[in-house]
Amino acid sequence: MKLNEHNTQFSPDVELDEFINALNQERRPNESNNEDIAELQSLTRKIKNLRTPLEQSEEFSRQLFQKIQIPPKKDIPRKRFLPWSALVASILVGVFLISPWSHPDKDIVLAMEQTVQKLQNYHGTLEKVSTNEAGESQVLQRIEIWSEGNKYATRNEDGIVTVNNGERRWKSQPKSKEITLLPIYLDPHDFDLQEEATKAQQYPHKIVGQDSIAGHSTTRLEIDPPGGLPYYLWIDPRTHMPVQLQTAMQKSIQTTYTFVTLETNTEIPISTFNYNPPVGYQIVDQNQDKPVTTLAKAIEVSGLTPRELSEKPKRIFASPYRIVLDFEDTIVTESLLTTPFVISPLATLGQAAGGPLEVLPDSLRWQQNDLEIQVQGQRAEELAKQLAPDMVIPQGNQILPNQPSVKVAIDMDIVKNNQQQVDSGSSPWQLDPMQVAFTFAALQISPSGINGTPPLDYDSLKVSTNTGTDAVIQISEGPVKTVYVKRLIRQDQSGIWTVVGYDPR
């Protein structure tokens, strides 16, 4: 049995645990003197071999090559004085140490950017976890990813495969035996390695810690995009690959993307990206827009006069009455206004071009002149404000100008219980402020409960304000004129609305 630093004995399970920790952290582990434990340690190394093989770092290869280039030293008597070459070398080291390139964060970010740019392909499993302001986390999805050049394929836990091979994009659903052809332009990738490495290199950044991510020691980088909120990127210092990305808390949600496995420059079967529908599969074409080379051509095909942006799109697509401008990270869709503008009840309500603005995570939608405009993607707000400079996006937790004349007593235990019910899949209507207000108003008319036809027309309700945390609903008929609702437990898309007050008619 081994002795620890305090000269007390480690039990076998503790000694083995220490060994596993060292292997996981790529440290040199202590071999046990006990034959029995040493055998289990050896077995542990064999099991560890089941994970993705780790390539040697370029730095190690380079340093080793330098070492083997130097011929073995003969027994030469040492000189007593510093040779000139060493003096020059020491001066150069001094210059390097005070130079801006000597900072380790610059080195690791530069190395990451270069490694990622040279990446031929990768295959990994990406986990997406969402955390709200209360610190509650939820695994949203786990997807397997294959990427090679401009080709990108994913498979989710339900076996649904989505492929973009640069020429077409489709979704294959084995359960329903269906292949859906999708627009090639609307293909945002979660945690795009090339894009994140480039951004980290371009934006101000600093190393803020070391963390163990999915069993690997990593360096945590804080990246501060100009005009944006700081976010974090974790880099594996051995492979120089980014392994985890954590967004800033936006609209009360923080998202963490982690590559729980990642193989780089591996062999990806060509068939992964081949469009080859299996026999018996139904093909559904949802891809009406066709690529066009110029905006003039798009105007000709669509018959629209679109609002233009200062930045040139990477690609343009068009179909009758519709133009799509693809900026890679953000998509702008402009289409002819044909139906009344209906805002999603789950959306926050803003203002644009003198009318309502639908605000959803990563998406803004409004009407402008005779067009309906939707901007989706990472830079949705930036590009949307170019099209509608008067745009107002509400901030959560702001005090609204109008307050209810009658306050409703709230039992927080009941509210918490309701939230838990909704979390478990019951009563999802409580996520919709309109339905919460409707139920409240209907119960004011029929306090004993609603049987059969509700005593109120649902169309008489209209959301006048929705900041994401507070909403005000106007009702044009019945004894209640205005209902005030609030997200009391969680201020995100999963938070229920509760009536906090009302104005009687």
């Binding site: 292997l23 790529e26 055998e39 190394r45 190690f60 080793l64 069993g215």
Partner: protein, 172 residues
Amino acid sequence: MVTKKSPSNEQSLETWYQQTVSKLYRFTYALLQNREEAEDITQEAYLRCLRKDSKEFPPYPYLKKVVRNLIYDRYRHWQISNSQNEDLSQSNDVSAAEENWVNRTLIKEYMNQLPEQYRQVLELRIVEGYSRKETAERMGRSEDAIRGLQYRALQTLRDIFHTSKRTEDSYL
């Protein structure tokens, strides 16, 4: 054959090095599963080969042999615990990738014979490399329980290894 004393020695050295370094490192890493040790042993193997007064750069199988000997020198007990794979590993006809694949398949097969909780703790803690705390959270157990569980799981896996070895031997 690449020679040490050819006119373009430096170029030859670089070619020999580039042709061998990645696979030798992978081979070493597969045995040790640890970056620090793998780098150390790989470096020592190259330096030993180059110190030898030979006219030629040694072929890759020789480098592998040096790596194996260095590991055995460092960890004596390995000679016993790894003897069952030795016949396979010594063969120059078997590539490192194939050898690795065979070993991995064998481990997977044995791990699948473990009770679910044992298999899960070894996968999370060792294969995936999660910390004891992370593993405890994922399995809904305490950190102490995970430490005990992983120890018992490894003991059981070792028993499966030994039983399989005895069964194989009885057929030979």
